[in-house]
C-alpha cells in the first residue's frame, strides 16, 4: 500500500510540475504598479539583437524592454494572428508588413513621435507595400546577390547564369526560400521576379530543375558557413551574412549580377493590440537615431535605413557592396511583392523542384 501511495504522489507531483512549467512562460505580466517602469515587449529577428542598444533605451526612457525573437516572417505572422500576443514593437520584412497591415494587425504610426523618419534613405521612401509609412518604417535593409570565393573563381559571376556553370558542380548553394530562388531563375530568363504568369513560373521551374544537380544545398542559415569552409564557391544569399563571412575568409567577395536582384528591408511596426503605443513610438524613434543606428549597422553588418549612418560607418563597411549596394545597382533591384493567387504556381514548382 505504501509503495502505491508513493507512486500516486509522485504522479501527482509530476503533473503539478508539468502544469507549472506550462503556465510559467505564458502571458507577459500586463498589470504594473505605477511605481514600476513601463515594460515594452519587442519581437525581432534572432540575429538583430544587440543588448547594449536595448539597455541604452531602458536608461534614457526609464522603461524595461523584454526582447523575444523569431526566425521567419511566417512565424511572426502566425503569432500576431493569434491575437493578444503582448508584443508591442515587431520587425516584419517589406512584403510581410504589407500583409499584416491589410489584415489589420498593425497600428497607425504617430509620426510626431518619430522625427527620425525624416532621415530615411531615398531608396526606401514611398515603398509599394506602404507608400506613406503609415504602418511601417524601414529599419535595416540590403540585397540578395552572390557571395563567391575570388581565390577559386578568377572571373566574378557577373550574371545569374554563373550559377548554372557546370564547372562548379556541387559547389553552389542557393537560399532555401522559394520566392528568392524562383526570383533568380526568373531574372536569368529576363522576367520580373514578381511574375504572375503560370508559363513564366513553369519555365523558371524547369530552369531550376536543370540547375539542381549542380547545387550542393538549399540553405538560408548555413550558406555563409559553407562559403567560409570552402564547401561552396558560390552562394546565393543575403549580403549581411556574406559580409560577416568575409571577416573569416578574406577571399570572399559579393556581387549583384547584372540582371539585378532582390532588395529587401525589415521594418519597424507597432501591433494594433499593443498597450504601450506611445512608448513603442519612442522606441522606434530611438532605434532610428543616427548614433544608435550606426552602432547597430556596425555590429550586424546590415545597412541602416537612416541615411546619416552611411557616412559615420568605417570606410570598409560603407564601401562593402554586401552591406551597401553600389549606387549603379539600385535601379536594377526589385522588391518581392505579394503575387496573390499565383503563389500556388510558386508553391507547386518549389515542391516539384525539391522532389526532383
Amino acid at each position: 500500500m505504501n509503495r502505491r501511495w508513493n507512486r500516486t504522489l509522485s504522479l501527482c507531483g509530476l503533473f503539478c510540475c508539468l502544469l507549472a512549467v506550462g503556465c510559467s512562460d505564458s502571458s507577459p505580466p500586463q498589470a504594473n504598479d505605477s511605481s514600476d517602469p513601463p515594460t515594452l515587449y519587442y519581437f525581432t529577428w534572432s540575429d538583430y539583437v544587440d543588448p547594449t542598444i536595448i539597455s541604452g533605451f531602458e536608461q534614457t526612457h526609464h522603461a524595461r524592454v523584454v526582447v523575444d525573437t523569431f526566425s521567419s516572417n511566417e512565424e511572426l505572422l502566425a503569432k500576431a494572428q493569434s491575437g493578444m500576443t503582448g508584443y508591442d514593437v515587431v520587425v516584419p520584412s517589406d512584403f510581410m508588413a504589407g500583409i499584416m497591415s491589410r489584415l489589420g494587425l498593425l497600428a497607425d504610426l504617430d509620426m510626431a513621435r518619430i522625427p527620425n523618419v525624416r532621415y530615411l534613405e531615398d531608396a526606401l521612401q514611398r515603398l509599394p507595400f506602404d507608400p506613406g509609412n503609415r504602418f511601417a518604417i524601414p529599419y535595416l535593409w540590403g540585397t540578395v546577390g552572390i557571395g563567391y570565393d575570388s581565390e577559386v573563381m578568377g572571373d566574378p559571376p557577373r550574371s545569374w547564369e554563373a550559377l548554372w556553370n557546370p564547372k562548379y558542380s556541387g559547389r553552389i548553394s542557393m537560399l532555401n526560400d522559394q520566392r528568392e530562388v524562383f526570383g533568380v531563375a526568373l531574372k536569368a530568363l529576363g522576367h520580373s521576379l514578381n511574375s504572375q504568369s503560370e508559363m513564366e513560373i513553369r519555365q523558371a521551374r524547369d530552369k531550376l530543375i536543370n540547375q539542381k544537380p549542380l547545387v550542393k544545398a538549399y540553405s538560408s542559415e548555413q550558406f555563409d558557413q559553407l562559403l567560409v569552409s570552402g564547401e561552396v564557391v558560390m552562394a546565393h544569399g543575403w549580403g549581411g551574412p556574406v559580409a560577416r563571412a568575409m571577416r573569416e575568409r578574406s577571399s570572399i567577395r559579393y556581387i549583384i549580377p547584372e540582371e539585378g536582384g532582390t532588395i529587401w528591408t525589415d521594418c519597424l511596426a507597432v501591433l494594433a493590440s499593443s498597450s504601450q503605443k506611445t512608448l513603442a513610438m519612442d522606441f522606434i524613434n530611438y532605434l532610428l537615431d543616427a548614433q544608435v543606428a550606426t552602432q547597430t549597422s556596425q555590429r550586424l553588418l546590415f545597412a541602416s535605413a537612416n541615411r546619416l549612418v552611411r557616412d559615420r560607418l568605417p570606410s570598409d563597411i560603407r564601401n562593402n557592396t554586401a552591406v551597401y549596394p553600389p549606387g549603379e545597382a539600385m535601379s536594377r533591384m526589385e522588391w518581392i511583392e505579394d503575387v496573390s493567387e499565383a503563389i500556388r504556381y510558386y508553391d507547386r514548382g518549389w515542391t516539384e523542384l525539391k522532389v526532383h
Binding site: 502505491r4 503533473f15 505572422l77 489584415l103 522559394q178 540553405s219 569552409s229 564547401e231 518549389w350 522532389v355
Partner: protein, 301 residues
C-alpha cells in the same frame, strides 16, 4: 473489503467514482483522472483543432477561412505527394532495418553483461539524450563537411583529390536518422533480451544447436516484443523526421516531415499541412492494423 455505502462518501470522492467507475484505490483513481484530463487537454484538443483546420480553406494571405471543403484531402492523391510519402516510407523502413541490425548485437551484449556493467552501458546509450537533438545533428554537419572530421582524416592518410562529398547527400540523411533513433531500438531490445533466461540458451546449446540456430530459433523469437516496440519507436519518428533531412539533406530532398513544415511555415497553407499530417497518421494506423491482423492470423495459423 466491503464497500461502504456510496451515498456516505464525501462529495469529491463521489464525483471521482462516477467519472471513473473502476475498482482501484481512491488515490490511484485521482491520479488516473488527472492524467486523463492532461491527456485530453494536451493531446486530443490540439488534434481535434488540427482536424478542423484540415477541413477548411486557406485565406488569401495564408490565414484560415472558415468555409468547409474536402479539397485538402483530395490534394493528397497528387502523384507528387504520393511520391514523397513513398520515399519517406522507404527511408523510415531502411532506418528501422539498419537500427535493428546494429542495435541487436549491442542490446544482446548489454543484456548479458553483469549488473554493474549493464548500468554503465545503459547510461552510455542514454547520454546523447542529455544534449539537444539539434546540437547533435549540427555535430554531424561538422563531421561530414568538406573540411570536417572525416575528410580531414582521409587527407591525413594521404588523399590528395577533392574532398569526398558527404554532407547534403541521401547518405548523410540516412546516417543522421540511424544515429538519432538507434537508442530507441536498443532500449526495448535490452528489456526484452534480459527477460530471456540464460538457461534457455544453455538448453539450446546442450541440444546441439549451433550458435546461429540458437539465436535464430530461441533468442530472436523470444525477444519479439522488444523488436516490435523498437521498430515502432524507430519507424514512426523517422517517418515524420524533419530536422535531420533539413540540416543534413541541405534542403535537397523532401520527406513528409519537411513537406508539412513547408506547408505550415513557408506556403502558409495550414489546412493542407494539417491534411498531410492526418494523411500520414491515417496511413500509419492502417498499416498498423494490417500488420496486427497479419500477426494474429499467423499466431492462429
Amino acid at each position: 473489503m466491503a464497500h461502504p455505502g456510496r451515498d456516505h462518501l464525501p462529495g469529491s470522492r463521489r464525483i471521482v467514482n462516477r467519472l471513473l467507475p473502476i475498482q482501484s484505490p481512491f488515490p490511484i483513481r485521482v491520479a488516473l483522472l488527472l492524467s486523463l484530463l492532461f491527456w485530453g487537454i494536451c493531446f486530443l484538443l490540439p488534434l481535434a483543432l488540427m482536424f478542423l483546420v484540415s477541413l477548411i480553406s486557406r485565406g488569401p494571405y495564408g490565414g484560415l477561412e472558415w468555409t468547409w471543403t474536402g479539397e485538402n484531402y483530395v490534394r493528397l492523391a497528387d502523384p507528387l505527394v504520393i511520391g514523397i510519402f513513398l520515399k519517406s516510407f522507404l527511408y523510415a523502413s531502411g532506418t528501422t532495418i539498419v537500427c535493428a541490425l546494429l542495435g541487436f548485437p549491442l542490446a544482446y551484449c548489454i543484456a548479458r553483461s553483469s549488473r554493474a556493467w549493464q548500468q554503465w552501458l545503459l547510461v552510455l546509450v542514454m547520454i546523447p539524450f542529455w544534449t539537444n537533438f539539434l546540437v547533435r545533428t549540427y555535430a554531424w554537419v561538422l563531421i561530414f563537411r568538406a573540411d570536417g572530421v572525416i575528410n580531414g582524416f582521409v587527407k591525413f592518410l594521404g588523399w590528395t583529390g577533392d574532398p569526398i562529398p558527404l554532407l547534403f547527400t541521401d547518405f548523410s540523411v540516412f546516417v543522421g536518422l540511424v544515429y538519432g533513433y538507434l537508442p530507441f531500438m536498443v532500449l526495448p531490445l535490452v528489456a526484452a533480451l534480459e527477460r530471456i533466461s540464460i538457461h534457455l540458451e544453455e538448453a539450446a546449446r546442450d541440444l546441439c544447436a549451433t550458435r546461429f540456430r540458437m539465436f535464430w530459433h530461441v533468442v530472436i523469437p523470444l525477444s519479439k516484443p522488444g523488436w516490435v516496440a523498437g521498430a515502432v519507436l524507430v519507424f514512426i519518428p523517422s517517418l515524420g523526421a524533419f530536422i535531420t533531412p533539413y540540416l543534413l539533406g541541405g534542403g535537397q530532398s523532401l520527406m513528409i516531415g519537411t513537406l508539412i513544415q513547408q506547408e505550415f511555415l513557408v506556403a502558409r497553407d495550414w489546412p493542407f499541412g494539417a491534411a498531410l499530417s492526418f494523411g500520414l497518421m491515417g496511413t500509419i494506423l492502417v498499416l498498423w492494423g494490417w500488420l496486427g491482423r497479419k500477426s494474429t492470423e499467423q499466431a492462429a495459423g
